[in-house]
């Protein structure tokens, strides 16, 4: 089985003036299809740089990165943009939806930049299907400011899914959400993962990381831990437990 992500001795050095900062040092990593991985670490640990590299937003200064078997570490700006468009779906902490643009139009955005020539109707249907996956088909015409945080993040997930990527990349997807909405979003991810989508998520919240199947811990630019998750949380169970607890609070006056 071809790994979705294969990092070989990845280096990323930033030079700001005379000071050289090695943000990622000699990281090698393999992520197989169907995995749900959390990359964890404190700020400054290099996890954001890792994320940008994996997301093809940035090029490593050393080493080799194979995405779906293709070496993307030497591609130029436009080629990287095409790879992002075809192979990667992004979900951000701040949702990053276009303001004053309806949910469906936000979802259609990556398809507009696709090489596939999609006609208006097909575009709309694919967008609606993606919104259906995250349970927001009935909110297609709503604008981001008419949606709750959780709903906005679902729209962002639908946007990430519309080009059927091989990898879903989430950068602190629950960072701006309350705990119940966070669990709901993790539920969406778990459902997608069950359908076979590979997900890599950056988080610093330990309990959120327990919804994944594998935790990678970074510190000072190197991987210091790489363990499968024991005692995994399942969003459906957690939500049931939460609502039971809430009901108990309401019953006990």
């Amino acid at each position: 089985m071809t790994p979705v992500i294969e990092l070989r001795n990845i280096e990323r050095t930033y030079s700001s003036g005379e000071v050289q900062v090695r943000a990622v040092r000699d990281v090698s990593l393999t992520i197989l299809p169907g995995e749900f991985v959390a990359i964890m670490g404190a700020s400054g640990s290099g996890k954001s740089t890792m994320m940008n590299t994996i997301g093809c937003l940035d090029r490593p200064t050393g080493g080799c990165y194979l995405l779906d078997g293709i070496d993307v570490s030497k591609l130029n700006r436009d080629e990287l943009a095409d790879i992002r468009n075809r192979k990667i779906g992004f979900v951000f902490q701040g949702f990053n939806l276009l303001a004053r643009t309806s949910a469906i139009e936000n979802v259609e955005l990556p398809m507009l930049y696709s090489h596939k020539r999609l006609t208006g109707n097909l575009l709309r249907n694919k967008g609606l299907a993606a919104l259906g996956i995250v349970g927001l088909a009935d909110r297609a015409g709503h604008y981001p400011n008419q949606l709750s945080g959780g709903q906005q993040q679902r729209v962002a997930i639908a946007r990430a899914l519309c080009n059927e990527p091989s990898l879903l990349l989430a950068d602190e997807p629950t960072g701006n959400l309350d705990s119940q909405t966070s669990i709901e979003i993790m539920g969406v991810f778990q459902k997608l993962n069950e359908q076979g989508i590979t997900i890599v998520m950056v988080t610093h919240e330990l309990d959120i990381a327990r919804y994944t199947t594998r935790n990678i811990v970074m510190r000072d630019g190197v991987v210091v831990g790489d363990t499968p998750v024991r005692d995994r949380f399942f969003a459906t169970e957690e939500l049931r437990r939460l609502s039971a607890a809430q009901a108990a609070v309401q019953l006990a006056p």
Binding site: L57, A81, F90, L109, P110
Partner: protein, 404 residues
Amino acid sequence: MKIRATFVMALRALRRNKLRTALTMLGIIIGVGAVIAMVAIGNGATSQVENQIAALGQNVVLVFSGSVTQGGVKQGWGFAGTLKIEDADAILREIPDAVAVSPEVRTNAQVGAENQNWFTNVQGESPDYFAIRNWAFSEGTTFGEQDVRGATKVAVIGQTVVKQLFGADDPLGQIMRVKGVPFQIVGVLATKGMSVFGQDQDDVVIMPYTSCMKRIMGVTNVRTINVEASRPDRIIPVQDQITTLMRQRHKIVGDNDDFTIHNQQEFTDAATSTSRILTVLVVSIASVSLLVGGIGIMNIMLVSVTERTREIGIRMAVGAHGRDILLQFLIEATSLSTMGGIVGILLGIGAAKLLSIFAQWPTLVSPLSVVLSFMFSACVGIFFGFYPARKAAALDPIEALRYE
């Protein structure tokens, strides 16, 4: 990336900030509108001048008598008295393309009728003069050849003289005194109005040149000879033939001609070039406002790029190439400027129409100025939109996504 989708995106972005879009377009609107209106006014003025000059008579060649120097003072053309009636006869006889000739003398004199009097221009001409000058009669008709031969005391008068001497009375057949000499009025000229040089052309008394020379002025030479060429393309040959003929008759060797020749075209050129220079001046001032409008677009586009840095980052993250972003902002800037251009064209045409209706200015909207200003406004958008668009396209997606 589809062009149509980019257009839709650009228009949507412009619609989001309606007031800002309108204000930015205003610069272009005013610039284009001013250019269109100014060119229309300039064209109108030029064509009016051309019509006025054409009304003076077409294909006209004027032979002036030479200048004379008295005690070091040059008297100007027409005073040397070198032109004779025989010269005019010779021109008509020997130059086939000279179809009509009128020897001319001019003076100023006090004229009177009944108990009114008036100081006016008195001209002596041949009967052909009115045909040469395209001058119609409102009443009566011209004097004839026999009046010239007999130096008859008959005259034709202009509308201003009619008003001054006769008021509302019918002047035809009445007697008028010119320097005390009684003349019978045989014709009244139609109104001609101001000349392009600002003279009242209707303030005139015209009589047979022989009558004027003998009875009023007491001279034997003529000041000017009006010649009409058969066709516009014969003007220059006729002019050359007259030169040769006159040199021969006056026995001139070398280049000390005692006469000069001008044609109507020269006066037309002089008058229209004045109004052209004015048009160019006004249009260049209007173009400056187009330039200012362009800078306004650039300014707003730069603000827009900064404001939408995050949006640019999102677009790049989901796969937009630099040139997709470039195109999007370029189309936005160009839409701004061309929409401004279209509104400006309509406004300019409207302003020109209003001016001709309310201020009675002659205006003529030239299609060329419409096409050019539209293209120019599109170019303004591309030119001034390019820098901000390129700035947007060159953004780093990571930085742009992180931008607050």
